[in-house]
């Protein structure tokens, strides 16, 4: 039922694409049309495996950048929470996203401002490259994800303040851009229980991602003081926890045809009525209706008479 090229471009799921291959070496029939290629600038390995040339080339795929092991652990946990053992998305309606992307910073500049604030300050400039986010992936939520190594037991809760500012590129200093607009978050949590801290930066990043900004440069100051200011306990001073630069987590709704649209299938399930009468074939329905029409027209002519 699919036209030939549509079958090539339309229904192949994104994850079946090989990233770095050179499409030109394949048979023209197997190459995606140029327009489509921009969105899927990669060729699906499914097609590659099926083409003879592909089979020979397959082993020569160039290596990928390996993700941070912490990030990998976090995403595996997210997968377990979102999908069954068979890999089918869980039917809980609470999450509307059908795509979650985790980016680790690709470059950072370290600053130390001891004289500025009390406590142990981790200030770092981060650059996130979001090229992998497609135009059909719409942002629902974005989170800065801090991971703590909890090997050092910390008995009391800590209060952390996170200063976040977006950087514009300052061409005079090639290495570290200057700040443009910033926001401060204050968090209060207990280390004992947390390995991950999520800082919701949705309202902060939404305008940037909506305008297709794919390089996000931000400076993050993260200060933690041990103790609980709310209960007026004396703050015991700075927190000596090694802080890994945060990753950026984007919860997205992919509106492309190949993505699973939860609300669509729920509606579909609700909509499908049970047929009032079991007929052998819809043809019988048709015949039945035709018969009815005849009867009605006969009755009308009789009444006229």
């Amino acid at each position: 039922p699919h036209s030939r090229d549509r079958a090539v471009s339309g229904k192949s799921p994104g994850f079946l694409f090989a990233p770095e291959d050179n499409p030109h070496r394949l048979h023209p029939f197997l190459r995606l049309p140029k327009g489509v290629r921009r969105g899927y600038a990669l060729l699906p390995p499914l097609l590659k495996v099926l083409s003879d040339q592909g089979r020979r080339n397959w082993q020569s795929e160039s290596p990928r950048l390996q993700p941070d092991s912490r990030a990998l652990r976090y995403m595996k946990r997210l997968y377990k929470m979102s999908a069954t053992k068979e890999g089918i998305p869980k039917a809980n309606k609470s999450h509307l996203y059908n795509t979650v992307r985790l980016f680790t910073p690709c470059s950072e500049c370290k600053h130390r401002h001891r004289e500025l604030m009390k406590g142990d300050i981790h200030s770092v400039d981060l650059l996130f490259n979001l090229d992998r986010v497609t135009a059909l992936e719409h942002l629902l939520k974005s989170v800065l994800l801090y991971s703590f190594d909890t090997s050092v037991p910390i008995s009391s809760p800590a209060t952390c303040v996170c200063h976040l500012s977006i950087k514009e590129y300052d061409f005079s200093s090639q290495v570290c851009p200057s700040a443009s607009h910033s926001v401060a978050f204050s968090l209060h949590f207990e280390f004992r229980k947390r390995r991950w801290v999520e800082i919701d930066v949705t309202s902060f990043l939404q305008p940037l991602i909506a305008t297709n900004r794919r390089n996000i440069h931000m400076a993050v100051n993260f200060t933690c003081l041990v103790g609980d200011p709310q209960h007026n306990t004396e703050q015991e001073g700075s927190l000596n926890v090694a802080l890994v630069p945060p990753s950026l987590l984007l919860y997205l709704n992919d509106t492309s045809e190949q993505a699973y649209h939860r609300w669509n299938s729920l509606r579909h399930r609700r909509k499908s009525p049970v047929r009032p009468r079991q007929r052998d074939t819809p043809l019988a329905d048709l015949v039945d209706d035709l018969g009815k029409e005849n009867a009605q027209s006969k009755r009308a002519s009789r009444q006229r008479r």
Binding site: F15, P45, W58, R64, A83, E86, I88, N129, A259, L283
Partner: protein
């Protein structure tokens, strides 16, 4: 009885063949299990989860008179009639998937970022003739 009367001269073996056509068709259109692991395709370097994937597939004969058991549209019957009475080059209806379920996939992107995505129509759950 009539049927029997009509074919009294058949040898016993033919008789069983004759009766067989009234029995439930043996290799009827139905869903078949198929399970693969991404390591078989050497994709496990970048597909982190799931480890196994059961796409399933549909296989079997489509009976001449396709009833509502397959949920087939009327067109399926019409196609059978075209094949038998008008043009044998038109293929008979085929046994194909009618419903699917989605699949969640966790992959490593070329730039080292990680993506969790839910894909539509990745596991066949029901077959039909059309």
């Amino acid at each position: 009885e009539e049927g029997l009367k009509e074919a009294p001269a058949a040898a016993p073996r033919n008789l069983s063949d004759y009766f067989k056509q009234f029995l439930f068709p043996q290799n009827e259109c139905e869903l078949h299990n198929f399970r693969l692991s991404f390591s078989q395709l050497k994709w496990d370097k970048w597909i982190i989860a799931p480890h196994r994937y059961s796409p399933q597939y549909c296989k079997g004969d489509c009976p001449r008179v396709v009833g509502h058991r397959y949920g087939s549209p009327v067109h399926t019957m019409v196609q059978n009639i075209i094949y038998e009475k008008l043009d044998a080059s038109v293929p008979r209806p085929s046994c194909v998937p009618a419903e699917y379920s989605p699949l969640s996939v966790l992959t490593i992107e070329p730039d080292g970022s990680i993506v969790y995505k839910e894909y539509e129509d990745m596991i066949a759950t029901k077959c039909t003739c059309r």
